[in-house]
Symmetry: C3
Subunit: 150 residues, 3 copies
Protein backbone atom coordinates (compact mmCIF):
# COMPACT_ATOMS: atom_id res chain seq x y z
CA UNK A 1 0.00 0.00 0.00
CA UNK A 2 1.71 3.11 -1.22
CA UNK A 3 0.31 6.52 -1.95
CA UNK A 4 1.75 9.95 -2.40
CA UNK A 5 -0.09 13.03 -3.53
CA UNK A 6 0.30 16.70 -4.21
CA UNK A 7 -2.61 19.06 -4.43
CA UNK A 8 -5.03 21.41 -2.80
CA UNK A 9 -5.44 21.10 0.93
CA UNK A 10 -8.95 21.19 2.38
CA UNK A 11 -10.44 21.37 5.88
CA UNK A 12 -13.89 19.97 6.60
CA UNK A 13 -15.40 20.72 10.05
CA UNK A 14 -18.43 19.18 11.69
CA UNK A 15 -19.93 18.93 15.18
CA UNK A 16 -21.96 15.80 15.91
CA UNK A 17 -24.23 15.39 18.93
CA UNK A 18 -25.96 12.62 20.83
CA UNK A 19 -27.59 11.94 24.17
CA UNK A 20 -26.16 9.27 26.44
CA UNK A 21 -28.25 7.05 28.73
CA UNK A 22 -25.95 5.78 31.45
CA UNK A 23 -23.32 7.22 33.75
CA UNK A 24 -20.64 4.99 32.22
CA UNK A 25 -21.47 4.14 28.62
CA UNK A 26 -19.54 3.12 25.52
CA UNK A 27 -20.75 4.05 22.02
CA UNK A 28 -19.48 2.70 18.72
CA UNK A 29 -19.16 5.81 16.52
CA UNK A 30 -17.14 4.25 13.70
CA UNK A 31 -19.87 4.40 11.08
CA UNK A 32 -20.77 7.97 11.96
CA UNK A 33 -17.17 9.11 11.54
CA UNK A 34 -16.80 7.27 8.26
CA UNK A 35 -19.91 8.98 6.95
CA UNK A 36 -18.39 12.38 7.68
CA UNK A 37 -15.12 11.40 6.03
CA UNK A 38 -17.00 10.30 2.91
CA UNK A 39 -18.97 13.56 2.84
CA UNK A 40 -15.75 15.57 3.13
CA UNK A 41 -14.57 14.38 -0.26
CA UNK A 42 -11.04 14.07 1.16
CA UNK A 43 -9.08 11.05 -0.02
CA UNK A 44 -5.81 11.29 1.92
CA UNK A 45 -5.15 13.04 5.21
CA UNK A 46 -6.23 13.03 8.83
CA UNK A 47 -9.52 12.86 10.69
CA UNK A 48 -9.30 14.46 14.13
CA UNK A 49 -11.91 13.74 16.81
CA UNK A 50 -12.25 15.90 19.87
CA UNK A 51 -14.87 15.38 22.52
CA UNK A 52 -15.75 18.79 23.95
CA UNK A 53 -16.25 17.41 27.48
CA UNK A 54 -13.64 16.65 30.14
CA UNK A 55 -15.73 13.77 31.54
CA UNK A 56 -15.66 11.71 28.34
CA UNK A 57 -13.10 10.08 26.07
CA UNK A 58 -12.50 8.77 22.54
CA UNK A 59 -10.31 5.73 21.84
CA UNK A 60 -9.91 2.54 19.79
CA UNK A 61 -10.72 -1.00 20.81
CA UNK A 62 -12.52 -4.11 19.60
CA UNK A 63 -16.30 -3.78 19.76
CA UNK A 64 -17.24 -7.00 21.51
CA UNK A 65 -19.81 -7.22 24.32
CA UNK A 66 -17.69 -9.28 26.70
CA UNK A 67 -14.67 -7.03 26.20
CA UNK A 68 -16.74 -3.87 26.66
CA UNK A 69 -17.78 -5.21 30.06
CA UNK A 70 -14.10 -5.74 30.88
CA UNK A 71 -13.31 -2.18 29.74
CA UNK A 72 -15.95 -0.77 32.08
CA UNK A 73 -14.79 -2.96 34.96
CA UNK A 74 -11.19 -1.92 34.36
CA UNK A 75 -12.01 1.80 34.38
CA UNK A 76 -14.13 1.43 37.52
CA UNK A 77 -11.28 -0.33 39.28
CA UNK A 78 -8.50 2.00 38.04
CA UNK A 79 -10.38 5.13 39.03
CA UNK A 80 -12.69 4.35 41.92
CA UNK A 81 -15.85 6.39 42.25
CA UNK A 82 -16.42 6.02 45.98
CA UNK A 83 -13.32 7.36 47.59
CA UNK A 84 -12.52 10.83 48.89
CA UNK A 85 -11.91 13.50 46.24
CA UNK A 86 -11.54 17.19 46.98
CA UNK A 87 -13.50 17.93 43.79
CA UNK A 88 -16.52 16.17 45.37
CA UNK A 89 -16.12 17.87 48.76
CA UNK A 90 -18.41 20.93 49.21
CA UNK A 91 -15.75 22.47 51.46
CA UNK A 92 -13.30 22.68 48.54
CA UNK A 93 -15.48 22.72 45.44
CA UNK A 94 -18.87 23.90 44.25
CA UNK A 95 -19.23 20.94 41.93
CA UNK A 96 -22.61 19.37 42.50
CA UNK A 97 -22.13 16.37 40.25
CA UNK A 98 -19.56 14.57 42.46
CA UNK A 99 -17.79 13.53 39.28
CA UNK A 100 -14.08 13.60 40.14
CA UNK A 101 -13.83 9.98 38.95
CA UNK A 102 -15.37 11.01 35.59
CA UNK A 103 -12.71 13.73 35.19
CA UNK A 104 -9.88 11.33 36.00
CA UNK A 105 -11.21 8.67 33.62
CA UNK A 106 -11.53 11.25 30.83
CA UNK A 107 -8.00 12.49 31.47
CA UNK A 108 -6.55 8.99 31.54
CA UNK A 109 -8.19 7.84 28.30
CA UNK A 110 -7.97 11.16 26.44
CA UNK A 111 -10.55 13.32 24.73
CA UNK A 112 -8.88 13.43 21.34
CA UNK A 113 -8.11 10.86 18.70
CA UNK A 114 -6.44 11.39 15.35
CA UNK A 115 -6.67 8.76 12.63
CA UNK A 116 -5.46 8.47 9.05
CA UNK A 117 -7.71 8.91 6.06
CA UNK A 118 -6.73 6.75 3.09
CA UNK A 119 -8.75 5.98 -0.02
CA UNK A 120 -11.48 8.33 1.22
CA UNK A 121 -12.21 6.37 4.40
CA UNK A 122 -10.90 6.08 7.95
CA UNK A 123 -7.98 3.69 8.19
CA UNK A 124 -8.73 1.06 10.84
CA UNK A 125 -7.39 -2.40 11.54
CA UNK A 126 -9.78 -5.36 11.27
CA UNK A 127 -10.67 -5.26 14.97
CA UNK A 128 -10.44 -1.52 15.57
CA UNK A 129 -13.63 0.42 16.31
CA UNK A 130 -13.86 4.07 17.32
CA UNK A 131 -15.40 4.26 20.78
CA UNK A 132 -16.86 7.30 22.52
CA UNK A 133 -16.89 6.85 26.29
CA UNK A 134 -19.39 8.66 28.49
CA UNK A 135 -18.12 8.92 32.07
CA UNK A 136 -20.74 11.25 33.57
CA UNK A 137 -24.06 10.60 31.81
CA UNK A 138 -26.83 10.72 31.00
CA UNK A 139 -26.06 13.93 29.14
CA UNK A 140 -26.06 15.63 25.79
CA UNK A 141 -22.60 15.36 24.21
CA UNK A 142 -20.80 16.99 21.28
CA UNK A 143 -17.90 15.67 19.29
CA UNK A 144 -15.92 17.91 16.96
CA UNK A 145 -14.80 16.13 13.80
CA UNK A 146 -12.26 17.66 11.46
CA UNK A 147 -11.16 16.03 8.22
CA UNK A 148 -8.13 17.65 6.59
CA UNK A 149 -6.11 16.67 3.57
CA UNK A 150 -6.44 16.35 -0.17
CA UNK B 1 -21.37 24.76 12.87
CA UNK B 2 -20.13 23.90 9.42
CA UNK B 3 -16.98 24.96 7.65
CA UNK B 4 -15.19 23.77 4.60
CA UNK B 5 -12.28 25.43 2.90
CA UNK B 6 -9.85 25.07 0.07
CA UNK B 7 -6.65 27.00 -0.13
CA UNK B 8 -3.00 27.36 0.65
CA UNK B 9 -1.67 25.19 3.39
CA UNK B 10 0.68 26.73 5.95
CA UNK B 11 2.88 25.43 8.77
CA UNK B 12 3.79 27.63 11.71
CA UNK B 13 6.40 26.28 14.18
CA UNK B 14 7.33 27.61 17.60
CA UNK B 15 9.17 26.38 20.69
CA UNK B 16 8.01 27.81 24.02
CA UNK B 17 9.95 27.47 27.27
CA UNK B 18 9.36 27.83 30.97
CA UNK B 19 10.90 26.85 34.29
CA UNK B 20 8.95 24.66 36.68
CA UNK B 21 9.10 24.96 40.47
CA UNK B 22 7.98 21.64 41.91
CA UNK B 23 8.65 17.97 41.25
CA UNK B 24 5.00 17.36 40.35
CA UNK B 25 3.41 20.52 38.96
CA UNK B 26 0.49 21.36 36.69
CA UNK B 27 0.52 24.46 34.46
CA UNK B 28 -2.41 25.94 32.57
CA UNK B 29 -0.96 26.76 29.13
CA UNK B 30 -4.24 27.41 27.31
CA UNK B 31 -3.73 31.13 26.86
CA UNK B 32 -0.15 30.68 25.69
CA UNK B 33 -1.23 28.21 23.01
CA UNK B 34 -4.08 30.41 21.86
CA UNK B 35 -1.68 33.32 21.46
CA UNK B 36 0.50 31.23 19.14
CA UNK B 37 -2.52 30.12 17.13
CA UNK B 38 -3.61 33.75 16.71
CA UNK B 39 -0.09 34.75 15.62
CA UNK B 40 -0.03 31.94 13.06
CA UNK B 41 -2.82 33.54 11.06
CA UNK B 42 -4.31 30.09 10.48
CA UNK B 43 -8.09 29.87 10.62
CA UNK B 44 -8.81 26.16 10.17
CA UNK B 45 -6.53 23.22 10.89
CA UNK B 46 -4.65 21.57 13.71
CA UNK B 47 -2.43 22.72 16.54
CA UNK B 48 -0.01 20.03 17.68
CA UNK B 49 1.73 20.21 21.05
CA UNK B 50 4.73 18.08 21.86
CA UNK B 51 6.62 18.26 25.11
CA UNK B 52 10.26 17.47 24.38
CA UNK B 53 10.76 15.65 27.70
CA UNK B 54 9.86 12.08 28.61
CA UNK B 55 9.18 13.03 32.24
CA UNK B 56 6.32 15.42 31.43
CA UNK B 57 2.92 15.34 29.75
CA UNK B 58 0.28 17.47 28.01
CA UNK B 59 -3.46 16.77 28.38
CA UNK B 60 -6.91 18.32 28.81
CA UNK B 61 -8.90 18.71 32.00
CA UNK B 62 -10.89 21.28 33.95
CA UNK B 63 -8.68 23.87 35.66
CA UNK B 64 -10.09 23.80 39.18
CA UNK B 65 -7.92 23.81 42.33
CA UNK B 66 -9.72 20.96 44.09
CA UNK B 67 -9.66 18.78 40.96
CA UNK B 68 -5.97 19.52 40.32
CA UNK B 69 -5.23 18.18 43.81
CA UNK B 70 -7.17 15.04 42.89
CA UNK B 71 -5.21 14.74 39.63
CA UNK B 72 -1.90 14.88 41.53
CA UNK B 73 -3.13 12.40 44.12
CA UNK B 74 -4.32 10.04 41.41
CA UNK B 75 -0.99 10.11 39.56
CA UNK B 76 0.96 9.58 42.79
CA UNK B 77 -1.20 6.59 43.62
CA UNK B 78 -1.23 5.08 40.10
CA UNK B 79 2.54 5.35 39.72
CA UNK B 80 4.16 5.17 43.14
CA UNK B 81 7.46 6.95 43.59
CA UNK B 82 8.84 4.89 46.47
CA UNK B 83 8.95 1.37 45.22
CA UNK B 84 11.74 -0.56 43.56
CA UNK B 85 12.54 0.42 39.97
CA UNK B 86 15.52 -0.87 38.01
CA UNK B 87 15.89 2.60 36.46
CA UNK B 88 16.61 3.97 39.97
CA UNK B 89 19.00 1.17 40.91
CA UNK B 90 22.71 2.08 40.44
CA UNK B 91 23.40 -1.57 39.65
CA UNK B 92 21.27 -1.42 36.51
CA UNK B 93 21.22 2.26 35.55
CA UNK B 94 23.41 5.33 35.68
CA UNK B 95 20.40 7.58 36.16
CA UNK B 96 21.07 9.87 39.10
CA UNK B 97 17.64 11.45 39.26
CA UNK B 98 15.76 8.35 40.54
CA UNK B 99 12.90 9.35 38.30
CA UNK B 100 11.41 6.08 37.05
CA UNK B 101 8.02 7.22 38.38
CA UNK B 102 8.34 10.43 36.33
CA UNK B 103 8.99 8.41 33.16
CA UNK B 104 6.02 6.13 33.79
CA UNK B 105 3.71 9.07 34.53
CA UNK B 106 4.83 10.83 31.34
CA UNK B 107 4.29 7.67 29.31
CA UNK B 108 0.84 7.05 30.78
CA UNK B 109 -0.44 10.59 30.20
CA UNK B 110 1.37 11.21 26.90
CA UNK B 111 3.69 13.93 25.71
CA UNK B 112 1.67 14.97 22.70
CA UNK B 113 -1.71 16.58 22.21
CA UNK B 114 -3.37 17.55 18.96
CA UNK B 115 -6.34 19.93 18.93
CA UNK B 116 -8.50 21.50 16.25
CA UNK B 117 -8.16 25.09 15.14
CA UNK B 118 -11.46 26.68 14.11
CA UNK B 119 -12.20 30.34 13.54
CA UNK B 120 -8.53 31.15 14.20
CA UNK B 121 -8.52 29.82 17.75
CA UNK B 122 -8.07 26.53 19.59
CA UNK B 123 -11.31 24.58 19.80
CA UNK B 124 -12.01 23.71 23.43
CA UNK B 125 -15.13 22.75 25.34
CA UNK B 126 -16.35 25.07 28.10
CA UNK B 127 -14.44 23.20 30.82
CA UNK B 128 -11.40 22.11 28.83
CA UNK B 129 -8.03 23.66 29.64
CA UNK B 130 -4.68 22.63 28.18
CA UNK B 131 -2.46 21.39 31.00
CA UNK B 132 1.29 20.86 30.97
CA UNK B 133 2.35 18.39 33.65
CA UNK B 134 5.84 18.47 35.14
CA UNK B 135 6.75 15.10 36.66
CA UNK B 136 10.44 15.67 37.45
CA UNK B 137 10.93 19.34 38.29
CA UNK B 138 12.09 21.85 39.03
CA UNK B 139 13.54 22.11 35.53
CA UNK B 140 13.62 24.15 32.38
CA UNK B 141 11.09 22.75 29.88
CA UNK B 142 10.37 23.17 26.17
CA UNK B 143 7.14 22.60 24.31
CA UNK B 144 7.05 22.42 20.53
CA UNK B 145 3.92 24.00 19.07
CA UNK B 146 2.97 23.51 15.44
CA UNK B 147 -0.06 25.12 13.83
CA UNK B 148 -0.92 23.79 10.38
CA UNK B 149 -3.83 24.51 8.10
CA UNK B 150 -5.29 27.31 6.06
CA UNK C 1 13.68 27.94 16.32
CA UNK C 2 11.15 29.59 14.08
CA UNK C 3 9.70 28.44 10.81
CA UNK C 4 6.71 29.42 8.74
CA UNK C 5 5.86 28.24 5.29
CA UNK C 6 3.31 28.44 2.53
CA UNK C 7 3.16 25.95 -0.25
CA UNK C 8 1.92 22.74 -1.72
CA UNK C 9 0.58 20.22 0.70
CA UNK C 10 1.55 16.58 0.27
CA UNK C 11 0.50 13.27 1.83
CA UNK C 12 2.89 10.31 1.93
CA UNK C 13 1.45 6.94 3.08
CA UNK C 14 3.31 3.78 4.02
CA UNK C 15 2.57 0.53 5.85
CA UNK C 16 5.53 -1.07 7.64
CA UNK C 17 5.50 -4.62 9.00
CA UNK C 18 7.46 -6.75 11.43
CA UNK C 19 7.19 -9.95 13.41
CA UNK C 20 7.35 -9.83 17.19
CA UNK C 21 8.92 -12.55 19.34
CA UNK C 22 7.41 -12.23 22.81
CA UNK C 23 3.95 -11.76 24.30
CA UNK C 24 4.97 -8.41 25.82
CA UNK C 25 7.71 -6.77 23.79
CA UNK C 26 8.97 -3.24 23.21
CA UNK C 27 10.55 -2.20 19.90
CA UNK C 28 12.46 0.99 19.18
CA UNK C 29 11.09 2.12 15.81
CA UNK C 30 12.55 5.65 15.81
CA UNK C 31 15.04 5.07 13.03
CA UNK C 32 12.48 3.32 10.85
CA UNK C 33 10.07 6.26 11.15
CA UNK C 34 12.79 8.80 10.44
CA UNK C 35 13.71 6.91 7.29
CA UNK C 36 10.13 7.19 6.04
CA UNK C 37 10.00 10.90 6.87
CA UNK C 38 13.22 11.45 4.92
CA UNK C 39 11.88 9.51 1.95
CA UNK C 40 8.67 11.58 1.97
CA UNK C 41 10.58 14.73 1.06
CA UNK C 42 8.36 16.67 3.48
CA UNK C 43 10.14 19.36 5.50
CA UNK C 44 7.41 20.70 7.80
CA UNK C 45 4.26 18.96 8.97
CA UNK C 46 3.09 15.92 10.88
CA UNK C 47 3.95 12.26 10.94
CA UNK C 48 1.07 10.11 12.15
CA UNK C 49 1.60 6.55 13.36
CA UNK C 50 -1.25 4.11 13.73
CA UNK C 51 -0.83 0.54 14.80
CA UNK C 52 -3.54 -1.51 13.09
CA UNK C 53 -3.98 -3.86 16.06
CA UNK C 54 -5.97 -3.31 19.24
CA UNK C 55 -3.52 -5.39 21.30
CA UNK C 56 -0.55 -3.11 20.68
CA UNK C 57 0.44 0.51 21.29
CA UNK C 58 2.77 3.29 20.15
CA UNK C 59 4.22 5.86 22.58
CA UNK C 60 7.31 7.85 23.55
CA UNK C 61 9.80 7.10 26.28
CA UNK C 62 13.53 6.86 26.92
CA UNK C 63 15.09 3.76 25.40
CA UNK C 64 17.06 2.40 28.34
CA UNK C 65 17.17 -1.28 29.33
CA UNK C 66 16.48 -0.77 33.02
CA UNK C 67 13.58 1.58 32.31
CA UNK C 68 12.09 -0.76 29.70
CA UNK C 69 11.98 -3.46 32.38
CA UNK C 70 10.14 -0.99 34.63
CA UNK C 71 7.71 -0.17 31.82
CA UNK C 72 6.89 -3.88 31.35
CA UNK C 73 6.52 -4.39 35.09
CA UNK C 74 4.26 -1.37 35.37
CA UNK C 75 1.96 -2.53 32.57
CA UNK C 76 1.80 -6.06 34.02
CA UNK C 77 0.84 -4.63 37.39
CA UNK C 78 -1.64 -2.03 36.08
CA UNK C 79 -3.46 -4.54 33.88
CA UNK C 80 -3.12 -7.99 35.39
CA UNK C 81 -3.19 -10.97 33.03
CA UNK C 82 -4.40 -13.62 35.45
CA UNK C 83 -7.70 -12.38 36.74
CA UNK C 84 -11.22 -12.99 35.53
CA UNK C 85 -12.20 -11.27 32.27
CA UNK C 86 -15.41 -11.94 30.38
CA UNK C 87 -13.46 -11.66 27.12
CA UNK C 88 -11.44 -14.73 28.19
CA UNK C 89 -14.48 -16.71 29.35
CA UNK C 90 -15.77 -19.21 26.72
CA UNK C 91 -19.27 -18.69 28.11
CA UNK C 92 -19.26 -15.04 27.02
CA UNK C 93 -16.73 -14.85 24.21
CA UNK C 94 -15.35 -16.95 21.38
CA UNK C 95 -11.91 -15.40 21.77
CA UNK C 96 -9.36 -18.19 21.93
CA UNK C 97 -6.36 -16.02 22.71
CA UNK C 98 -7.36 -15.12 26.29
CA UNK C 99 -6.00 -11.67 25.63
CA UNK C 100 -8.30 -9.27 27.51
CA UNK C 101 -5.24 -7.86 29.28
CA UNK C 102 -3.64 -7.18 25.88
CA UNK C 103 -6.72 -5.22 24.77
CA UNK C 104 -6.79 -3.16 27.97
CA UNK C 105 -3.06 -2.39 27.76
CA UNK C 106 -3.45 -1.31 24.13
CA UNK C 107 -6.40 0.89 25.00
CA UNK C 108 -4.61 2.47 27.95
CA UNK C 109 -1.44 3.30 26.04
CA UNK C 110 -3.06 4.15 22.71
CA UNK C 111 -2.55 2.85 19.20
CA UNK C 112 -1.86 6.20 17.60
CA UNK C 113 0.91 8.76 17.94
CA UNK C 114 1.26 12.03 16.06
CA UNK C 115 4.61 13.87 16.01
CA UNK C 116 5.89 17.02 14.37
CA UNK C 117 8.12 17.02 11.32
CA UNK C 118 10.60 19.89 11.25
CA UNK C 119 13.63 20.30 9.03
CA UNK C 120 12.67 17.08 7.23
CA UNK C 121 12.98 14.87 10.29
CA UNK C 122 10.85 13.76 13.25
CA UNK C 123 11.02 16.23 16.11
CA UNK C 124 12.05 14.42 19.28
CA UNK C 125 13.56 15.54 22.57
CA UNK C 126 17.02 14.23 23.49
CA UNK C 127 15.63 11.27 25.44
CA UNK C 128 12.51 10.56 23.41
CA UNK C 129 12.36 7.35 21.38
CA UNK C 130 9.34 6.05 19.47
CA UNK C 131 8.33 2.72 20.98
CA UNK C 132 6.02 0.09 19.50
CA UNK C 133 4.57 -2.15 22.19
CA UNK C 134 3.45 -5.69 21.44
CA UNK C 135 0.94 -6.90 24.02
CA UNK C 136 -0.16 -10.19 22.42
CA UNK C 137 2.80 -11.61 20.49
CA UNK C 138 4.45 -13.31 18.89
CA UNK C 139 2.64 -12.03 15.82
CA UNK C 140 3.01 -10.27 12.54
CA UNK C 141 2.23 -6.55 12.99
CA UNK C 142 1.53 -3.59 10.71
CA UNK C 143 2.00 0.09 11.41
CA UNK C 144 0.48 2.74 9.16
CA UNK C 145 2.72 5.77 8.76
CA UNK C 146 1.46 8.98 7.18
CA UNK C 147 3.63 12.02 6.62
CA UNK C 148 1.72 15.15 5.65
CA UNK C 149 2.86 18.71 5.11
CA UNK C 150 5.03 20.74 2.80
Amino acid sequence: MVASSLGNYKVFNRIVDWITNDRLQLLNITERINEIVRKSGIGDGLVHLQSLHTTSAVFLNEWQDALLDDVKGFLEQMVERDRYYRHNDPEHSDCERKNADSHLRGMLMGQTLCLQVRNASVLLGTWQSIIFAEFDGPRSRSLAVQVSGI
